[in-house]
């Protein structure tokens, strides 16, 4: 039987007698497991949006709480508003710092931040 140059049916028949080597038995189940774990892009976007919403809510709550904390400090209402970070305040209160200790800390911060005038060093000594 003669073949035209572009007729490779004889060769193809010979090659197709052989099947590619078999694959591992667990390959399919591993792919299935990974596919199930794959997060769809829409779910990912929703998760990010939810995370942003939670962060914004938490930040709002922290700021609100901090203002209350500032008001509750009797001795140094003004310096506290001017020099302390509200988040920092709430954090220290949450850690159980006493109001007096907190007050002392804030006073020191305020003093450090006040502009120094010529002659300050003389007054100290």
């Amino acid at each position: 039987m003669r073949h035209t140059p572009d007729d490779f049916s004889d060769l193809e028949a010979t090659l197709r007698q052989f099947q590619p080597a078999s694959v591992s038995a667990n390959l399919k189940s591993e792919i299935d497991a990974r596919v199930r774990r794959t997060v769809s892009p829409w779910r990912f976007v929703l998760a990010i949006a939810a995370l942003i919403a939670i962060c914004m809510t938490a930040q709002f709550a922290l700021k609100g709480g901090a203002h209350e904390a500032i008001v509750q400090l009797p001795s140094h209402p003004q310096p506290v508003r001017g020099n302390a970070s509200p988040t920092w305040l709430v954090y220290h209160q949450a850690l159980g710092q006493s109001e007096a200790a907190l007050d002392q800390l804030l006073s020191r911060q305020s003093a450090e931040l006040l502009p120094r005038l010529p002659g300050d060093d003389l007054r100290v000594h």
């Binding site: 572009d6 004889d10 060769l11 193809e12 080597a21 591993e30 792919i31 299935d32 596919v35 794959t38």
Partner: protein, 164 residues
């Protein structure tokens, strides 16, 4: 692609040919299977945008394989890499076909990479030239001519074995 059932059907039909294709760049069967696994996950993630899942899978295995190859070459010296190669049978065969299988594997190994790729995709993946063109990012004519060159070379090398 619609759902996981279709993905499983693709696996049943193409897994072996995909692993055979992946062996062009992988050292071992395990490495080739990892490439195939990654290709299926990639297909699943992009299923909304993929027109031809079969062509996509082979294209993904090729891309991942080339990355794997480059990474491996960076990590190891060439000599170590060649020494680590363990020849594994590409095909299953009956015992009496051992010699023919070895001759076919040797003949394929002599082909230029681009011809061997097309041959595997045409014979064992059973893709059309249009699908091969998509998988390899070449024109249909290029895919067809590469196949013709590969087949002519193989017919010459396997003249004794090929029925005529």
């Amino acid at each position: 692609m619609k759902d996981e059932t279709e993905l499983q059907a693709l696996f049943d039909h193409h897994a072996r040919a995909l692993v055979l294709f992946g062996k062009r760049w992988a050292v071992s069967q395990g490495d080739a299977e990892d490439l195939v696994q990654d290709a299926f996950v990639r297909l699943w993630k992009n299923r909304e945008r993929v027109n031809d899942p079969a062509a996509y899978l082979y294209a993904a295995v090729r891309t991942l394989g080339l990355d794997h190859w480059k990474m491996r070459q960076r990590r190891t010296q060439r000599e170590e890499f060649v020494a680590s190669l363990r020849p594994e049978a590409l095909f299953e065969n009956r015992p009496e076909q051992n010699e023919l299988r070895q001759n076919i594997e040797q003949a394929i190994a002599t082909l230029p990479d681009e011809q061997a790729e097309v041959l595997i995709l045409k014979i064992w993946a059973d893709l059309t030239f249009a699908q091969i063109a998509e998988a390899l990012d070449v024109s249909r004519n290029t895919a067809a001519s590469r196949y013709r060159y590969a087949a002519e070379t193989l017919r010459g090398l396997l003249a004794r074995e090929v029925r005529s």
